[in-house]
């Protein structure tokens, strides 16, 4: 919340200064016919002020508790629900969104390297992704922003964009940001009839957002719009993933280390490594439910505890997760690998990461090191 409030405040200031914005007049959302996504983002009319990510009425912003690492990109998330439709509320799964739902996610970096920022938001927008629930499944579309930040055009084949920014430690970072092709979207979101949404689930959404009148629980807010098919239980009775890196300032104190790490691997690994994920056949399960299993070898292979890799491996290590020893754990080797010098195939997740998530690696390492040591089997 500490970051999002100023962003909204800035956006509001922008609105006051520039009214409805020069390029996109205030208008209600205009969904494209199925299978015929517009050539430009503006045609959808999701935003009152797209360069500053100020949504139209009826386009609801949200955040998640545990975020997927994408080379330190900042993200802006929104949901558009077609008029009169309801979302199927699920206590512990991804919500059941009706056909016509559009989930919108913009990827951006601080615009702080050369010259004054181009927008009041102070971010350089790279791409805005749409995930649209069409009648035969969820369909991904991506719009790439131009350098001037005036327009985003549909791009199906992906692109590589050089990006530099000054990070929170004052270091200038430079990366080759990868906009995925439409086909690559399916690698995480599944293929064919199994295409699916990943983030919007109760554990991720049960947190506050400032919709203009101070912090408000997101799920309560969505319920107040009449969007849910049933009344959810009170906020404190819902599954809530902790924020992985929130060590000190959560109400009631920080969540336990193991829960924060489990939330991290849920957000960053479980889209494939879960009983319904793309590589479920490898039986390395890192989803929130599976990671709740006590991490001992006797409890099986769900966490990768003392599990030999199949085709994978990393750095010559023997086991996916060695309790008490992060350095001996393939899990840590994989999420910290950067190619070169590591083989590109070692890098996990395989998409959306070209550099190391140092904080994430430190968290997972601390978690594994904190587990009761195991020799992994023995006779």
């Amino acid at each position: 919340m500490r970051r999002t409030v100023p962003i909204l405040a800035l956006s509001s200031a922008m609105l006051l200064l520039f009214g409805c914005g020069a390029s996109s007049p205030s208008s209600s959302v205009t969904p494209a016919p199925e299978g015929a996504a517009y050539a430009t983002l503006a045609e959808w009319h999701f935003f009152k002020d797209a360069p500053n990510q100020v949504p139209e009425d009826g386009v609801v912003p949200y955040d998640v508790n545990a975020r997927l690492f994408t080379d330190y990109a900042l993200k802006h998330r929104f949901i558009y629900l077609p008029p009169g439709k309801k979302i199927g509320y699920e206590p512990d799964e991804v919500w059941d969104f009706p056909v016509g739902t559009i989930v919108i996610k913009t990827f951006a970096y601080p615009d702080n390297v050369s010259g004054p920022p181009k927008t009041a938001l102070g971010e350089r927008l790279i791409e805005t992704r749409l995930f649209i629930h069409e009648s035969d499944g969820w369909k991904p579309y991506t719009y790439q922003w131009n350098d001037a930040q005036t327009e985003a055009k549909r791009l199906d084949v992906g692109d590589t964009v050089p990006v530099s920014w000054v990070d929170k430690d004052g270091q200038t970072r430079s990366i080759q940001y990868e906009i995925p092709s439409q086909q690559q979207c399916f690698e995480c979101h599944g293929g064919g009839t199994t295409t699916r949404l990943l983030g919007p689930r109760t554990g991720e959404l049960n947190r506050d957002w400032d919709y203009g009148a101070g912090p408000e629980n997101q799920i309560d807010h969505i319920a107040s719009l009449g969007w849910l098919d049933k009344t959810p239980p009170p906020a404190d009775q819902r599954i809530t993933y902790p924020e992985p890196f929130n060590r000190s300032d959560a109400p009631g104190g920080p969540a336990p280390l193991a829960e924060r790490a489990r939330a991290y691997v849920q957000a960053n690994c479980a889209h494939c490594h879960s009983p319904n994920g793309n590589v479920n056949y490898k039986k390395l399960y890192l989803d929130w439910d599976s990671t709740a299993v006590a991490p001992t070898a006797a409890d099986g292979l769900s966490l990768g505890v003392c599990k030999h890799p199949t085709s994978g491996g990393c750095g010559g290590l023997q086991y996916d997760l060695v309790p008490g020893d992060a350095e001996e754990s393939i899990l840590v080797c994989r999420i910290s690998a950067v190619s070169p010098p590591a083989p590109a195939a070692d890098m996990m997740p395989p998409l959306g990461r070209t550099i190391e998530d140092k904080e994430g690696v430190a968290l997972v390492s601390e978690w594994i090191d904190s587990m009761a040591p195991s020799m992994c089997g023995g006779r």
Binding site: G137, K139, D156, V157, G158, D159, T160, E178, P180, S181, Q182, Q183, Q184, F186, E187, G190, G191, G192, T195, N278, N280, Y281, K282, K283, A297, A298, L301, C306, K307, H308, P309, T310, S311, G312, G313, C314, G315, G316, L317, Q318, Y319, I330, S339, P343, A344, A345, M347, P350, L351, T354, M375, C376, G377, G378, R379
Partner: protein, 470 residues
């Protein structure tokens, strides 16, 4: 070509034909000679940009044609939602249609949509698998997968990688330099792997945790291990069953093992022609097996790869999800020549005091599996206990039926694991113990062998399904 595409092509050509526009000749608008039902080109790629756009645009039952040339995609290609797609080079010489993925992270082509066909292309230099298909009814025909740097641990792990698949055919293709298996079929039901040339990989052809696989007519050479039937713990499909290796030419598989340390295939002894590990109903017939330095055929249990873990005292957890024994292995009618002349270090220690091994090498399994079967379990390395020294019976259909060879002077050897001095493998291992009930002095039996009397030889059916869209 679809009717609509034909219509527009014809209309376009009619309208502009008088002005001599290129691209309206018969060769571009007509049926491709070997394209089958959908052999026409709905989309034609002529450069990298149009190739990437083609994968983005392709609809069900369409064909992407790729003109000769070198294409350098900047990211992984894939077909996820459109079914019945064919991707084919327009020149039957696959080496003229090159997709070079050098420097691109991820796989080359990743297919999750059903009824997919890929033909006449050369895929190079992928950082991960060359082609991966997780679907039903894939057909790979006349493709090549390789890495320009030659055999190297940094290469992608698998060349052609159908997984969680059914009714998959891989034929007339060539795979070389993969750092795991060149041509892999894993967790699949019904697969045909035929007439391929697979060489200079860690494992040539690997059938893992699959049912009904028919591997024939392949030339497999210069790999660390040639053709493998493997059962792995911890996967969805918990058996490897009905695997037929017939009429293959398996020779000179003596390449150094350059797999990633820790991976399953890093344990495959260099010099292995054919390896059966923890599988059930494997028939090996009609093959020519020649010049494989460790063994022509090596039959072991699925936990033999845990040997080093036992020696270091860090044995992996019991494999409760699989039956680790190799059962119903039927080897007959093969031609043998010059195998086992210079075994890999580990096998050499197991075979001691012999310095050579044999055409057929039988290793039993280690005994710590929870469902250890005293009939087949082969003894305890650390206690020297041996379940039953009489149990190696090449005529026992339920474990190992050694039928007549087609020709050649075949030899076979019983690897008696309790005879091993653990410290020969690992200096810090526990000291040797005296084996109980086992003769460690005569391990090798040479021809002439006993008469073949397998009561009910465990034959494996050939696969006869075919693809409709190829």
């Amino acid at each position: 070509m679809t009717k609509r595409a034909l219509f527009w092509t014809a209309t376009f050509c009619l309208l502009v034909g008088a002005f001599g526009v290129a691209g309206c000749s018969d060769s571009n608008s007509g049926e491709k000679p070997d394209g089958g039902m959908n052999g026409g080109c709905d989309i034609t790629a002529t450069d990298t940009m149009s190739l990437e756009q083609a994968f983005a645009d392709v609809k069900s039952n369409q064909t992407i044609c790729i003109e000769p040339g070198t294409y350098t995609p900047s990211r992984q290609l894939g077909v996820a939602s459109a079914t019945g797609v064919t991707v084919m080079g327009t020149d039957p010489d696959r080496e003229k249609v090159v997709l070079d993925f050098d420097g691109v992270s991820g796989k080359g082509i990743f297919i999750t949509a059903n009824d997919f066909t890929l033909k006449n292309v050369w895929i190079k230099n992928t950082s991960d698998n060359g082609v991966e298909a997780k679907n039903q009814k894939s057909h790979f025909d006349n493709i090549k997968v390789s890495w320009d740097r030659g055999p190297d641990t940094m290469n992608g792990r698998y060349g052609i990688y159908p997984t969680h698949c059914s009714e998959t055919i891989v034929e007339n293709s060539e795979v070389t330099d993969a750092s795991d298996a060149g041509l892999y079929v894993g967790q699949c039901t019904k697969a045909i792997i035929r007439n391929n040339k697979v060489h200079t990989n860690v494992a040539g052809i690997e059938v893992e945790n699959s049912v009904d696989a028919d591997v024939y007519g392949n030339e497999v050479f210069d790999n660390a291990g040639g053709i493998l039937a493997l059962l792995e713990s911890g996967l969805d499909l918990t058996k490897n069953e009905n695997v037929l290796f017939r009429d293959n030419n398996v020779h000179d598989n003596n390449h150094v093992n350059f797999a990633h340390a820790g991976s399953t295939v890093s344990n495959v002894p260099s010099g292995t022609g054919i390896m059966v590990l923890g599988s059930n109903k494997v028939e090996i017939r009609g093959n020519t097996v020649k010049n494989n330095n460790t063994a022509g055929v090596l039959v072991v249990g699925a936990n033999v790869f845990g040997l080093l873990d036992i020696l270091t005292g860090s044995a992996p957890p019991p494999q409760t999800d699989i039956d680790p024994f190799s059962r119903n292995v039927y080897i007959h009618g093969n031609t043998w020549m010059d195998n086992g002349t210079s075994p890999d270090f580990l096998i050499k220690q197991l075979a001691a005091p012999n310095t050579t091994t044999a055409d057929v090498l039988w290793g039993g399994i280690l005994p710590y599996a929870p469902n250890a079967d005293s009939d087949i379990g082969y003894g305890d390395l650390l206690t020297g206990a041996y379940a039953d020294s009489s149990r190696f019976d090449p005529n026992d259909d339920q474990m190992f039926c050694l039928g007549d060879p087609a020709s050649g002077s075949r030899t076979y050897m019983d690897l008696r694991i309790p005879c091993l001095n653990p410290q020969d493998i690992l200096p810090t291992a526990p000291p040797p113990v005296t084996p109980v009930g086992i003769d460690c002095t005569t391990r090798i039996v040479t021809t002439p062998e006993p008469a073949r009397t397998c009561a009910t030889p465990p034959t494996v059916p050939e696969q006869t399904f075919d693809q409709s869209n190829g």
